[in-house]
Amino acid sequence: MPGTSSRFHGQSLQPWIALLTAIAFSFTLMAVSDMKGTEIARERTCDILSVLARPFGIFPAILHLSSENARLRAENAALNIESTAAQEALLENERLRNLLDFRSKSKLNLRSAEVIATNPISGVRSLLLDIGTKQGAVKHTAVISDLGLVGKLVQTSEQTSVAQTLLDRNLGAAVRLSICRVNGITSWTGGNRLIVENIPASASVRLDEEVITSGLDGIFPEGIIVGKVVSTKKAPESLFLKVEVAPAVNFARLEEVFIVYPDSSGILQP
């Protein structure tokens, strides 16, 4: 029966044609990934998805509310004590700077943003934020949380932005070890840890030593906490140490972040 045979033949070929078409489209999309039109289409979809995803953000917030509240209360108490001392130190510092005619360092202008969604793809660690170009978000701006460095903005649309986190293999930050004052670059090699490379073997790196941004990459302002040293390794033939760092930020529980705008006026804006 020729009719039956051709129908059967057509049915068995259909999935292969669909697959080949999907593969061809996928590679075409990859090829035009960086084109302006693709970027605009992506921005629009992000804006729509953010509206749908926003209500789901309530659940993690509710779940973490009590523990977050307790942590914030404790932190508030500690900060109250610290703030008095810090105010005194700041005034003293200002006085001394004026005396020495030092130019005061530019301060950071922070703008808060809510995490709407996280990236579901394994290996790409990014966050969808509810802040866009309308609110002044700019590509390659640093993103921080109250605990430390989160990452940088890699995509911006009118209403939303995508931030690439430090746990993405393709993002590195220029950092400095706070006590031994050695500079390095972070990289992610799996799990929830960062590696700081190019640390000379002669450097006396301490456990629990704080790792902060050095500002040398021109993206992340100097002095933002990245994490703490948890271990150091040295291969027998190597001249460098591999320093393992536990990030200060819990990337799985990010609900609110801050976009950092370098403020040349030196005025700290809320």
Binding site: P15, A22, R42, A53, F56, V124, V162, N170, T189
Partner: protein, 163 residues
């Protein structure tokens, strides 16, 4: 399940994956519910539908990554095709269903790892051990939990007696 219900389920799975999945992530490892859904639809509706579901959900995921557009469509379409070829129209035992989900999620994770990680042998091995394999295993565990839950038959599209 009629098409509208399936569409809503797909949208819900995608939204859960991008918003709430971090609540059950362990050391940054999270299961992939989207691949579970795509393969389940492919088993129920066939490889062509699997490719279509994979492509549709993949392109939505791609828009959220800020990375390479087309990677999600490639990975999920292939998983949908694989799921359909291995499961559609066949006698679907539990072992077969779980094996198909495992193979499909492994395919997706390997495609992402291959395209997203730089090529150096030591780094690759670390990524495989700390990210890819745990991710595949975690997805499989979630499938197992889902499968034995009272809602298991909704996703697979078969009655409990058939599985």
């Amino acid at each position: 399940m009629n098409q509208l219900k399936v569409l809503c389920a797909g949208a819900l799975i995608l939204l859960l994956q991008i918003t709430l999945i971090d609540l059950i992530s362990i050391h940054g490892i999270k299961p992939d519910l989207v691949v579970l859904f795509v393969i389940s639809r492919a088993i129920t509706e066939g490889p062509t539908a699997g490719v279509a579901w994979g492509f549709g959900l993949g392109i939505l995921i791609d828009t959220l990554t800020g990375g390479i557009t087309g990677l999600g469509t490639l990975a999920y379409s292939m998983a949908g095709f694989l799921g359909g070829r291995l499961g559609f129209g066949k006698v679907l035992t539990r072992t077969r269903y779980l094996t198909i989900i495992f193979s499909g999620s492994a395919l997706v994770y390997f495609i992402f790892t291959y395209f997203l990680q730089p090529w150096d042998a030591a780094g690759w091995m670390t990524i495989l051990l700390t990210n890819t394999f745990p991710g595949i295993f975690y997805t499989w565990i979630i499938t197992l939990v889902w499968f034995y839950s009272p809602f298991g038959h909704f996703l697979s599209g078969r009655s409990r007696g058939q599985l």
